[in-house]
């Protein structure tokens, strides 16, 4: 029979258990609720500015013509090269690269500054050329490019009457082993001869795309190099029966991404083919070349924004993996456009338009507009001589960007609204433009004149010279 003492003891133990339980709950509560002070060691990073080196740009040089055999080429005329440096007296040296096999002509030129003479990106070059031969006619322009290890080139055609060459220039000191892979409208092209091409240091090489992918209406070329880096450029000429219908140098386009911006697409004359037209014959209409290089089909939404303002058109396309699609941009009024493509997978893009002189049946020139990469804070653009030169900006971001463009001594303010586009007229005699405060904008240069049409994207300097964050632990 429990006496009071036993009861007392039982009660005491009960209280002890309850107390312990309460303390447990309190401990958990305190651990969960109280924001205890934290101590998180900061990673030790050091941003390394690479030692100054020669800044280097490669200009592809004059249009080449394939000779009798595939190995020989010859230059058609010469290109006018515009060079710009900042500071202006940095003194860019022009080094002529060893010409490709089969020709004696000097072709590509590399622009070199002494180490430390200019900051990254503050050396720019561009070239233009007007061709009026019997086999090739038209206006072509290209920016002088930085050699890279991985380049995508969208453009060209190897159908009847179309000739496309790939120019590979290696201005470095290490031989580059280059693999050229071509995708066409039927998918990746098996072309072992495009693999393992060695480009000697300080030399260049010409590859006929027709040799790799004959009869391809819509090739996209992917150039990868190991060892040294190369500057890759496509050049295309067109001839319809006996009439040359244009020529163009096609620079690298932006690497595969889920969003691409092509700005400054010049449509000289109103017209075009509806987007949903199944039988878009020929290459005279404004069109878009898209390739999803991945393994999955990609759905892309294309919006065509007129620079003049007003509603653009929007349409969706599905890109089959590995197959290049040439898609008409629809019927467009004459003017400049910016094409923005958003997709659920990575893809590369470029646009093409053509100009037809009044009364002519056939187009007299065409142009390829590669996709651009976003600019850095300061960008130097070299502008070669040409007709109707314009510097275009597109701002796909959410905030208005106000940049200033200095041409010679003339500084202009350019305001690009969020999602908007803008352009600046450039003097026809060439020169240079310094864009400041333009971080995040996409830019390109276009030329539009009578029987003359060309454009090239303004690409920011590659990351190779930019500072890199190193964690030495």
């Amino acid at each position: 029979m429990p006496d009071s003492r036993t009861l007392l003891r039982a009660g005491g133990r009960g209280v002890a258990v309850l107390g312990a339980a309460a303390l447990t709950v309190a401990a958990f509560g305190a651990a969960a609720i109280v924001p205890w002070p934290e101590h998180r060691a900061e990673p030790l990073a050091r941003s390394i500015q690479p030692a100054e080196s020669r800044t280097l740009r490669v200009c592809p040089g004059p249009m080449l013509e394939l000779g009798d055999d595939a190995e020989s080429v010859s230059a058609l005329g010469s290109a006018r090269i515009a060079t710009a440096t900042r500071p202006a007296d940095a003194g860019a040296e022009r080094v002529v690269l060893a010409p490709p096999r089969g020709t004696e002509d000097d072709v590509a030129v590399s622009l070199v500054t002494e180490p430390g003479a200019v900051d990254a990106g503050m050396l720019a070059g561009a070239q233009s050329q007007r061709l009026t031969t019997e086999t090739a006619a038209g206006f072509l322009a290209a920016g002088c490019a930085e050699p890279v290890a991985d380049a995508w080139l969208a453009g060209g055609s190897t159908e009847l009457g179309r000739s496309t060459l790939l120019l590979l220039a290696n201005p470095g000191e290490v031989a580059a082993t280059v693999d050229v892979r071509v995708h066409s409208e039927t998918g990746p092209v098996e072309a072992p001869s495009g693999l393992g091409l060695v480009v000697q240091p300080g030399g260049q090489r010409v590859v006929s795309i027709a040799g790799l992918a004959p009869g391809a209406a819509a090739p996209v070329v992917h150039v990868t190099s190991t060892g040294g880096t190369v500057a890759a450029t496509l050049e295309q000429t067109a001839i319809d029966v006996l009439t040359p219908t244009g020529a163009e140098l096609i620079g690298t386009t932006a690497p595969p991404a889920t969003r691409q911006t092509i700005t400054g697409v010049v449509v000289p004359q109103s017209g075009g083919i509806a987007v949903d037209e199944d039988h878009a014959e020929g290459d005279a209409h404004p069109s878009l070349r898209l390739l999803a290089p991945g393994a999955d089909a990609v759905e892309a939404a294309v919006s065509v924004v007129p620079e003049a303002g007003g509603e653009g058109s929007v349409f969706d396309v599905v890109l089959q993996p590995g197959q290049v699609s040439d898609i008409p941009l629809g019927e467009l009024a004459a003017g400049e456009y910016t094409v923005r493509i958003d997709a659920d997978g990575e893809f590369v893009a470029a646009a093409r338009t053509a100009t037809t002189a009044g009364g002519d049946e056939l187009p007299s020139d065409f142009a390829w507009f590669p996709a651009s990469l976003p600019l850095l804070e300061e960008t130097l653009v070299a502008v070669p001589r040409g007709p109707g030169t314009k510097l275009h900006f597109a701002n796909p971001g959410d905030a208005e960007v106000e940049a200033s463009v200095t041409i010679g001594d003339d500084e202009r303010r350019v305001t690009v609204a969020a999602g908007g586009v803008a352009s600046v007229q450039l003097p026809g005699g060439g020169g240079s433009a310094l864009v400041t405060g333009g971080a995040g904008l996409f830019a390109s240069v276009s030329f539009n004149g009578n029987r003359q049409l060309a454009g090239f994207a303004v690409q920011p300097p590659g990351p190779l010279d930019s500072p890199i964050v190193v964690y030495p632990r």
Binding site: V17, R40, L44, P50, L464, I468, Y471, P472, R473
Partner: protein, 1059 residues
């Protein structure tokens, strides 16, 4: 005229004469005195009275009585004056007995003939009435006898002989002829001896003066022996007179003070050793003295080792003190030798027959050993491993381990987030464990992590392939954990089922399995050793061997998981406070850990980075910081060891935390229920330990200390969770131990529920889906490892693109980084050192196009290879870009020759790379001479602790003269109920008798007090008492003064019956 004035002046030199006193008790005869009694007094009091009374009561009274007052107080002076001796010599400083006697004797006129003798007494001696008569008779009948010694009997127990003659061994060690024996007249035939103890001896004054009295260099011990030896060498005889009885209390005036307190024992041992060394230096032939002098220190070292093994570390200081003081007391030795030379008339061979014969010494040693064995036999360890099912638990644990660790069976190495191979050579392991060159990345000279020493030990055990030691650790972690918990629980309960429960719950602990799955060697080791540490720490208070073992385990646990150090130190302090006299042994606990970590502690404090001391050793594991809910459930990842995936597969939309919480609820409830059993203290300590562990885990989650690439690795929470789990498990054991029925069923329920909670985790390890797995053959491309065969310092720059677009750059030497090279100091530095800055510059430039002179990589670091890691296919864009950029830059660099793609990334070789690059070599004499000093100190401390941990002290660690205590006496005192007694408590006490002392009385569960609490401290007061003998001698102090538990005998009976 020499009355009161002589008191005041305290003169010792005044010639004493008969003092005219009003009522002299001892009247001197006019004739020439023959026996002068010299009574040395220090304390006075009752003893003095008794001594004086005894002198007065002599059948043959001494003619004169001199009293030498040594620093006596006024009361004693008065008492001495009242006794009216014939002279009082005041000595104001504290002098030894021999010196006091010498001064007193000097006041006497020179001896007139051989009959003159002094009788040396002190307040501690109480001669029986016929003592002087018997002594004098001996001197009278044998003219050659110069010194006659009485039979000294123990004052408190006059039936026991305290001393009857002394002798020496052949090597000069002093040995008593008889000691502690019951006096049954068995030694009454003894006469001629080599030496005597000085109490109560009668010495011819002529001889005394010729020998210059006692040697002042032998103030406490061996003074009588030395005097007698010199007398013998002077051609005299020394005899004991067994019929002269003198009661002797070892009060510290003659000979060393008695007592079993540690301090008294230590002082006695030191004085004995000093005396022995002094005699050795005095007696040795002149030619041999330099040799003896040189041998003093080496012998002290050797004897210290023996003292450690025999568990008497307290005597080491005295040992060295004796050696050093003897080494530098040239004057005293010279004096002793001079006196000896002057008095000597016969050779040493004359006394050889009186020395203790070797066979007698052997017999004595045999007897001692037998006695020790007998004592050791009395011990019951209370563990009964096989009888209570420990074997089955081990078997089950082995089977579980094989099942869970199946992928690792037959592996040569183990890989995981925090794992790397160990250095292939054992000497390299030890070099990496000591202060000096830290060969991690760019390298520096600094302190090693204590964990490297643990790795070195593990690696040395598997010397043929050190990396395999980690495989063994993974394979053995579960069984060894289980055993540890089983033994720890054995301190709490004698029920096999509950011990098994503790073992199973501990080996299935989520923190252990999480650490095993992730590959965190530090956390695994901490878990494995924590229960063992508790087991050892609970026995520390009573045994040096156990205390030393616990301190080594403590060092290993803290080395493996420094984040546990604060919690363990708190537990240690609480344990020290609770363990009473055992605190001395417990104080040893953190010493090896501190010595091991001292260089690192110093370095981190000097760097102002105190928190970094808590950083986990080894490879930092960047991981998500677990929330406190996850921490409380014992897991370290938000997926709760795979429950998230399991529930997702079942398409159950339940938060996995609830599922695990439900499965762990029984354990939590059982732990809380420990309070209901009445073993409040055990429950409180267990749960306080659990709380401490939880707090440690939460605190660890707030800290990210080690920097690896672009992230900082949080401190592992698993060790804290292990401690929490241990507290919970022990509390649950306490609770179930209090349940009379169905505890086995409850234990089964706990086991099943807990096993369920960790099942997904165990399955993921067993099926190879966990991070941990067999190690790859290499950690660098074969191209590099092949070169490392010829050039062990071949240096590879490893570049790894980070998710944020940065580039991680590290250097690896030889065949790759190893676990034993890692350094928390390097990982936790908050600034970059010069090497890291240079490395960053080189790596950044190699990954960029630029005008950088790539040969700087060879000049500064001797880099031969550059290895660029691949970015994963699903890596963020910034990472891919950095990888591409770096590859392009390296490709384009004319100084680099591409080697090709490997399993570890793309490899380049420097065209100008040189074998055995000078910049890649470890600087010669790195860290010298500091490294040598630190290693020496650490080796000495660990050597001493290791020697101390050898369990050779069984039966030794107690007072040598501990009387056998009749057991029934205690039973009678305590009541029979307590006798069924706790095996655990018994295990802690050295000889098993004082079980009851450790016995908690509150509820009659006898083990409670000796109870292991999770913090590793024996909390009881009683069992912490190392020398129960003291308790016996002072019965008033014996045992707990209050005994509340006795008031409720019924309940206790019931509980015992339930067992």
């Amino acid at each position: 005229m020499h009355g009161p004035s002589s008191f005041d002046r305290g003169s010792a030199a005044r010639p004493p004469m008969a003092t005219a006193r009003s009522e002299p008790v001892l009247r001197l005869t006019a004739m020439s005195p023959r026996v002068t009694a010299i009574l040395v007094v220090h304390r006075g009091g009752e003893r003095l009275t008794r001594a004086l009374d005894a002198i007065r009561a002599q059948s043959r009274r001494p003619e004169r009585l001199l009293v030498a007052l040594v620093q006596a107080n006024a009361e004693t002076r008065a008492a001495a004056a009242e006794a009216a001796p014939d002279g009082i010599i005041q000595i104001e400083e504290r002098v030894a007995f021999g010196e006091a006697v010498r001064r007193a004797e000097q006041t006497l006129p020179p001896p007139q003939d051989d009959e003159d003798a002094v009788w040396l007494l002190s307040e501690d001696t109480e001669p029986e009435s016929r003592a002087l008569a018997a002594l004098e008779t001996t001197l009278e009948t044998a003219r050659s006898v110069a010194i006659a010694g009485p039979k000294l009997l123990e004052a408190e127990r006059p039936d026991r002989i305290a001393s009857l003659g002394r002798s020496m061994t052949r090597f000069g060690a002093a040995v008593p002829l008889v000691t502690g024996e019951l006096d049954q007249g068995q030694h009454d035939g003894l006469s001629d001896v080599l030496g005597v103890d000085p109490g109560g001896i009668l010495v011819r004054r002529a001889v005394w003066r010729s020998l210059e009295g006692f040697d002042p260099a032998l103030p406490v011990v061996d003074d009588g022996l030395d005097l007698a030896v010199r007398a013998r060498l002077g051609g005299h005889r020394v005899a004991v007179v067994p019929t002269a009885h003198v009661r002797f209390a070892a009060g510290g005036l003659i000979g060393p003070a008695a007592g079993h307190r540690a301090g008294a024992v230590r002082r006695r041992a030191a004085a004995t050793r000093r005396a022995a060394l002094h005699r050795r230096m005095s007696y040795a032939p002149a030619a041999a003295t330099p040799l003896h002098w040189l041998s003093l220190l080496p012998l002290a070292v050797l004897r210290s080792i023996v003292l450690l093994v025999t568990k008497a570390p307290g005597r080491i200081v005295g040992e060295f003190g004796a050696a050093l003081r003897t080494m530098f007391s040239f004057g005293a030795i010279a004096r002793s030798r001079r006196v000896l030379r002057g008095a000597r008339s016969v050779g040493w061979s004359a006394i050889a027959p009186l020395r203790m014969q070797p066979d007698e010494m052997r017999r004595r040693r045999r007897l001692e050993a037998e006695e020790r064995r007998a004592r050791a036999r009395g011990r019951v360890d209370g563990v009964d491993f096989l009888a209570t099912g420990g074997g089955w638990v081990l078997l089950v644990a082995v089977v579980v381990s094989i099942a869970v660790m199946f992928p690792l069976l037959g592996a040569a190495g183990v890989s995981g987030a925090g794992l790397l191979p160990l250095s292939p050579a054992v000497d390299e392991l030890w070099r990496n464990a000591s202060y000096g060159w830290r060969d991690v990345s760019t390298g520096f000279i600094g302190a090693a992590d204590p964990f490297q020493a643990v790795l070195a030990v593990l690696g040395s055990l598997a010397f043929w392939s050190p990396s395999w030691a980690l495989v063994a650790l993974w394979l053995l972690a579960i069984p060894v954990s289980a055993l540890g918990a089983w033994f720890a629980a054995a301190r709490l309960t004698e029920r096999g089922a509950l011990r098994a429960l503790a073992a199973v719950l501990w080996m299935l602990a989520p923190p252990l399995l999480s650490s095993l799955a992730d590959g965190r060697p530090g956390a695994v080791l901490a878990h494995v050793l924590l229960a063992w540490l508790l087991y050892a720490a609970l026995g520390s208070a009573t045994s040096w061997a156990t205390a030393a073992t616990a301190s080594l385990l403590f060092a290993a646990v803290v080395a493996a998981a420094p984040s546990l150090a604060p919690a363990l130190l708190v537990a240690w302090i609480v344990g020290m406070a609770a363990s009473g006299r055992g605190a001395a042994r417990l104080a040893l606990l953190p010493v090896p850990a501190v010595v091991l970590a001292a260089p690192l502690i110093w370095a981190q404090l000097a760097a102002g980075n105190r928190l970094a001391l808590l950083a986990d050793p080894g490879v930092p594991v960047p991981a998500a910081v677990p929330g406190s809910g996850v921490l409380g459930l014992g897991f370290t990842d938000p997926a709760l060891g795979g429950w998230q995936q399991v529930l997702a597969a079942l398409q159950a939309s339940i938060d996995p935390r609830w599922v695990v919480a439900a499965l762990l609820l029984p354990l939590a409830l059982a732990a809380l229920a420990a309070f209901a059993t009445g073993r409040i203290r055990a429950a409180a300590f267990a749960l306080a330990g659990a709380a401490l562990g939880f707090a440690t885990a939460v605190a660890a989650a707030q800290l990210s200390l080690a920097i690896i690439g672009a992230s900082a690795a949080p401190v592992a929470s698993a060790p804290g969770q292990s401690m929490m789990w241990l507290g919970l498990v022990l509390a649950a054991v306490v609770a179930l131990d209090g349940v009379r029925r169905a505890s086995a069923w409850l234990a089964a329920l706990l086991t099943v529920a807990t096993a369920g909670a960790v099942l997904p985790l165990a399955v993921s390890i067993a099926t190879g889906r966990a991070e941990v797995g067999p190690a790859a053959q290499r950690s660098l491309p074969a191209f590099v490892t092949a070169e490392a065969e010829n050039d062990p310092r071949v240096t590879t720059l490893r570049l790894v693109p980070e998710a944020d677009g940065g580039l991680r750059a590290t250097l690896e030497h030889g065949a790759g980084a190893t676990l034993d090279e890692q350094s928390t100091f390097a990982q936790t530095r908050v600034t970059m050192d010069a090497g890291e800055l240079a490395l960053a510059e080189i790596a950044g430039n190699l990954a960029s196009r630029g005008g950088f002179d790539a040969d700087r990589a060879i000049d500064e670091f001797g880099i031969s290879y550059v290895l660029l890691g691949q970015a994963d296919a699903d890596a963020p864009r910034a990472e891919t870009q950095t990888a591409d950029r770096s590859r392009a830059a390296l490709d384009a660099n004319a100084a680099l020759v591409p080697v090709g793609e490997t399993d570890f990334g793309t490899l380049w070789r420097f065209a100008d790379a040189v074998p055995d690059a000078p910049a890649a070599q470890i600087p010669p004499h790195a860290g010298a001479p500091l490294a040598g000093w630190i290693a020496t100190v650490q080796l000495i401390v660990f050597g001493a602790v290791l020697l101390l941990s050898i369990p050779a002290g069984v039966g030794r660690e107690e007072p040598a003269r501990r009387p056998k205590r009749p057991r029934p006496e205690r039973v009678r005192r305590r009541g029979a109920k307590v006798v069924p007694a706790a095996p655990a408590a018994q295990a802690e006490t050295e000889e098993g008798t004082p079980v009851e002392e450790g016995t908690p009385v509150e509820d009659g569960t006898p083990v409670e007090d000796g109870t292991p609490v999770e913090d590793g401290t024996p909390v009881e007061v009683g069992s912490a008492e190392p020398e129960p003998a003291t308790a016996v001698e002072e019965p008033a102090h014996d045992g707990p003064p209050t005994d509340p538990g006795v008031t409720n005998p019924d309940e206790r009976e019931g509980e015992h019956d339930a067992r």
